[in-house]
């Protein structure tokens, strides 16, 4: 019969200790043979009973949630997949017919590539991969409606009216009062649906943020180009990454081991971001129960209200008055994820996709292993 550690002992084991100058107990230790007499082998039912998900925020382009009871290696796999392996559509090829602006062709093409696009999920799912043909491999051949989207940008800058040039001579510098089309924005990229795209996409393909400035022009300058957007992954180029950020941090803990009272309590609260520490009056009950609080009823006492908002700045460890009164730490298996989508996916669906992709990776390796074993 394996030894079963107490809940308290387990909590202590997964606490990363944060000291003034060092961090200790950072490594996972839930492995078989690590703790004498204890069984830590993989157990799906145990994992099911321990694993929890807690949502803090779930907006389309911004989600925050906690995954509790997971190992770092797995949480990190999800994070890495979110950033680098979920496919999105981005501008890959730019065909410039005319560009007399002062932005060089290649710089302009690069800027266009980085513009995040958005469309209906249904349409994006329908799109398949496009492989550029090379000398040896014909790839996907000519781009087709099911693997490439086309957008057009046509703009020419002119004087606002006949008198504008005179106003400029008189010293007017505001471009809005002098020129037409002097700034070209992402919204000026127009989708040209081809083939079945109109039916499949339902809503038009467009830049997520319409007001990204692409080029500035002056009268007589002209841009005429079209672009092809294809599906790709962040591993290939950051423009294909579906997230602005996907990150996690560990849940901070603050343990007040000896009461912090009066002016000290106020100073203590100031060591943390707002809302982390609050001041409460010592009740009569507490004063009679605890020796340290004897005769202190009515005084202000520091209590931990919301450790999640702490930045773990360790400011409180710099002051001698809090010495041996506070312990900082982090919970090793409590990951506070933040996922910010750039527009093609909803943030919660992105995370689900990352988990699915990790599973697909396993399946792929399993197939490879089966093939190798014959």
């Amino acid at each position: 019969m394996p030894k079963i550690p107490t809940q308290e002992e387990l909590e202590q084991r997964k606490r990363v200790q944060i000291n003034a100058e060092t961090v200790t107990n950072a490594q996972s230790n839930d492995f078989p043979h690590h703790w004498p007499g204890e069984d830590h082998s993989w157990n799906l039912d145990y994992f099911k009973s321990q694993f929890r998900v807690k949502f803090e925020k779930n907006e389309r382009y911004d989600a925050e949630f906690s995954l509790i009871g997971l190992d770092t290696s797995v949480a990190n796999a999800f994070r890495r997949i979110l950033i680098a392996e979920i496919p999105t559509l981005a501008i890959e090829t730019v065909f410039i017919n005319q560009n007399t602006s002062i932005i060089a062709d290649e710089v302009l093409a690069h800027r266009m590539g980085l513009v995040p696009l958005t469309a209906s999920r249904k349409g994006l799912d329908w799109m398949s991969w496009y492989r550029e043909p090379t000398e040896e491999d014909r790839g996907s051949g000519q781009p087709m409606d099911y693997n490439a989207c086309q957008l057009r940008l046509e703009a020419a800058c002119t004087w606002l009216d006949d008198d504008a040039i005179n106003r400029a001579n008189r010293g007017e510098t505001d471009p809005n009062k002098l020129y037409k089309n002097h700034s070209i924005y992402a919204k000026d990229l127009v989708w040209v649906p081809s083939g079945q795209q109109n039916d499949k996409f339902e809503e038009p393909l467009r830049p997520t943020n319409p007001d990204i400035l692409l080029v500035k022009m002056r009268p007589g300058q002209k841009i005429e180009l079209f672009v092809q957007a294809i599906k790709g992954i962040g591993q290939d180029h950051a423009k294909f990454s579906p997230v602005a950020t996907a990150s996690y941090r560990l849940m901070p803990t603050i343990d007040i081991t000896k009461p912090i009272l009066g002016q000290d309590a106020k100073k203590f609260a100031r060591c943390f971001p707002k809302g982390v520490i609050e001041l409460e009056k010592v009740t009569e009950e507490e004063a009679s129960e605890k020796k340290e609080l004897e005769g202190k009823e009515g005084e202000l006492k520091a209590v931990v209200k919301n450790p999640m908002r702490d930045t773990v700045s360790r400011e409180c460890l710099r002051h001698p008055e809090f010495k041996d009164k506070v312990k900082l730490g982090r919970v090793r298996d409590h990951f506070i994820f933040k996922v910010e989508s750039t527009g093609q996916w909803d943030s919660d669906l992105l995370f689900l996709e990352s988990v699915k992709l990790l599973k697909v990776k396993c399946e792929r390796v399993k197939r490879g292993l089966d093939a190798m074993m014959g």
Partner: protein, 132 residues
């Protein structure tokens, strides 16, 4: 793109999309795994093509959770080569192949639990927000 640009223009061809394209993976050389030389039944190094820390570390963790495993570790031998090495050593004549297979199965089971619990938590959160 080399050569003329005009011939690259997309056409409106109403072609049916080829099936083979469906599962094309942009990361090259995947589906490949091999055993490095010097392997025995209870100690072997595997080389995975097209894998990195994402699968490497997660797989290492789940294999280390197996009590039959004496040692498991992974490495990326060179950062510019798209390869990942995984070393497994086992106790008591347990085959490394079954250990690796079990590790993959366990990781997939874990993914299923994460998907289920995440979906439930999200739906509860959305419902709660709507009612509030």
């Amino acid at each position: 793109m080399p050569g003329s640009t005009q011939d690259q223009v997309m056409t409106d061809a109403q072609s049916t999309r080829p099936e083979e394209d469906e599962h094309y993976d942009p990361a090259p050389d995947q589906d490949r795994i091999r055993v490095l030389s010097g392997a025995t039944d209870t100690a072997a190094s595997f080389q995975f093509d097209g894998e990195d820390h994402t699968l490497g570390n997660a797989l290492r963790y789940i294999i280390m959770k197996n009590p039959d495993v004496e040692f498991c570790g992974y490495s990326i031998p060179h950062p510019s080569e798209n390869k990942m090495n995984l070393r497994i050593q086992t106790y008591d004549n347990v085959s490394v192949y079954t250990v690796l297979d079990k590790g993959l199965d366990d990781l997939m089971d874990m993914c299923d639990v994460v998907i289920d619990k995440f979906t439930i938590a999200r739906d509860d959160f959305n419902a709660q927000k709507q009612n509030a």
